[in-house]
Point group: C2
Chain length 96, copies 2
């Protein structure tokens, strides 16, 4: 896991909203996210997150289930995920 | 200071090397960095860092002097700069 790949992955609002959702729910299918982008763009965002090591994906029938690799990320980059999630929550409440 | 702007600014190898140099020396003039890019590209990288709030620049005669806004960054995003600098040092020693 590379810090700069992880930071780049987290510096996009759509990917950040995916990570925020996964921080609150342990497993979420790709089609259950409410994202402001088309299906192929969404797939690309999921792939960037997976390749950065931030999420795990497993297939269950026709559905692709996502989960946040919280333990691994926290072990490798202590404090980063908390910082990012706190900041995302602050920005979201400021937008309201 | 926005975390995602800061993370984007830090996710570039040239800008990261500028920040690493400034973490070791309190003030460095633009022309004293050994960067693998031309002058105008270097200027752009310094501007991205300044606009993200990571560095401070002051002019002294014809020279532009840079310093890391370490206190401000640490206060705003505790642990981030240490994480980034540690990772940059680890990557640099792995490249040797």
């Amino acid at each position: 896991m590379n810090l700069f790949t992880v930071m780049t992955a987290l510096s996009d609002p759509v990917r950040l909203s995916i990570v925020t959702t996964l921080s609150a729910q342990s497993e979420v299918a790709c089609n259950c996210f409410d994202l402001p982008v088309g299906k192929s763009t969404a797939s690309r965002h999921f792939r960037v997150l997976r390749e950065a090591g931030l999420i795990h994906q497993r297939d269950m029938g026709t559905r692709r289930i996502n989960s946040l690799r919280r333990l691994e990320v926290n072990r490798r980059f202590p404090g980063l995920l908390d910082l990012v999630l706190r900041e995302a929550a602050t920005n979201a409440s400021a937008d309201r």
